[in-house]
């Protein structure tokens, strides 16, 4: 369950990071500001409060969804709003003359973003995005508080049944540590993949 939530929320996080990040870097004022408000809302309160709020408040509006869906959406959007800042910062860090170049070459807005801006921006995004992926894994235990039986929830059950407190919590701490370490390893591989050829480009300058 922990893995499922992490994977599901990871997808939501990536999609929302890019959507909010690109919108946040856009020049259309209303789009920029509405995204800002959403992002600040998610960044200004804790994931736990948001999760609890969504779990209890949505039924008031007549929306009944599975707790797991609430968990995936809230955690994904929460970390995604931090991710959108990463994407926005990386896009804005692409030098201006690159964008002027796309205008000169008569590329459409979409082409400019897809073939010129994003490939350069993505290299700067990977390390902070990796940290966010670990953050995401680390806030998944919160879903145990809205009745989802993830790793932490199961540990609570086992503790109550066997009262083997030290072993149970020690064990899941190690499991979380190993899972995070896998993400760290994976991210450094991806980083190497996207950075290939970069040293040659830099060497030409």
């Amino acid at each position: 369950m922990t893995l499922l939530i992490t994977a599901g929320a990871g997808v939501v996080m990536l999609v929302s990071s890019f959507a909010f990040g690109i919108a946040g870097a856009s020049r259309i004022i209303w789009l920029k500001w509405s995204v800002r408000i959403i992002v600040e809302f998610f960044r200004g309160t804790s994931a736990y409060v948001q999760l609890f709020w969504a779990y209890f408040a949505l039924p008031f509006y007549g929306i009944y969804v599975d707790a797991a869906v609430v968990g995936i959406l809230v955690l994904g959007l929460n970390v995604g709003s931090f991710g959108s800042e990463v994407v926005r910062g990386a896009i804005l860090s692409v030098p201006r003359d690159q964008i002027e170049g796309t205008v000169a070459l008569n590329l459409s807005r979409y082409q400019a973003m897809r073939y010129v801006v994003l490939p350069q921006a993505i290299i700067n995004m990977i390390p902070p995005m990796g940290n966010l992926a670990i953050d995401l894994l680390k806030i998944t235990p919160l879903v145990s508080l809205i009745t989802i039986s993830d790793l932490t929830f199961q540990a609570q059950v086992i503790r109550q049944q066997t009262s083997e407190t030290i072993i149970t919590y020690g064990f899941i701490l190690i499991v979380y540590f190993l899972l995070s370490s896998i993400i760290v390893h994976f991210v450094s591989r991806v980083d190497k993949y996207f950075a290939r050829g970069l040293d040659i480009v830099k060497g030409n300058h």
């Binding site: 209890f56 806030i139 503790r159």
Partner: protein
């Protein structure tokens, strides 16, 4: 069911009482993180390879595991070992320890931002290590650390909501108790969310302002 204003207003005093606990926990855990974080940062810079290695992995372990589980660990395991602490104290220990791991990175960046010439000059002037740290390194390393540290304090402030899971009556805990009493979670939880926003938005803005000011000063120095 709809939003009930009179009910919401009647809850405010109790939730503000919870806010004092939230703030207390934030301050205590911040103080702890500031000290323990420095110890971690110095440990990772130790001359001794074994010490350096041990500190590195302790910090990584803390950073790679969830703070909620760490909190459960402190809260449920310490009594087993014969140490009985109030829930608030064990919560603050866990939050403080978790934040220390992040603070150690902030300290590291701050210490590394002190130019190498300063260290060499101190050695040339035969300044003892303690004075080197107190009079030369830290005064230069601390100011650039403030925005980064501020961000972690904000993170900590928001994480204190987790204290409610180990029976502490902070803002969130109070809201949950009210919800249990009245079966109306909507108003208390919304209020808690709003109070968190009201505090963290101005704080985040002032941190951003400080960041910009510092980077502008740096540009002027160049």
């Amino acid at each position: 069911m709809n939003w009930d204003w009179s009910y919401a207003f009647s809850l405010i005093p109790r939730i503000l009482e919870g806010l004092t606990i939230t703030l207390q926990a934030t301050v205590l855990a911040t103080v702890m993180a500031a000290f323990v974080g420095l110890v971690f940062a110095l440990g990772k810079r130790s001359q001794n390879r074994v010490v350096r290695w041990a500190f590195y992995w302790v910090v990584e372990f803390i950073r790679r595991t969830p703070v909620l589980v760490q909190m459960y660990f402190v809260f449920f395991v310490l009594p087993r070992l014969g140490v009985t602490l109030p829930a608030l104290v064990s919560g603050v220990l866990a939050l403080g320890l978790h934040t220390s791991a992040y603070m150690s990175e902030v300290y590291r960046a701050g210490i590394e931002s002190v130019p190498k010439g300063q260290w060499e000059a101190a050695r040339a002037l035969n300044i003892p290590p303690l004075r080197l740290w107190i009079d030369i390194v830290l005064p230069q390393a601390l100011p650039p650390m403030i925005p980064a540290a501020g961000n972690y304090v904000m993170m900590l402030f928001k994480e204190t909501a987790l204290l409610s899971t180990i029976t502490v009556l902070d803002m969130m805990g109070t809201a949950r108790v009210i919800g249990n009493e009245t079966y109306r979670y909507f108003e208390p939880i919304t209020l808690v969310g709003l109070i968190y926003l009201v505090i963290s938005l101005p704080a985040a803005m002032s941190i951003r302002f400080m960041e910009e000011k510092i980077s502008r000063n740096k540009k002027m120095l160049r």
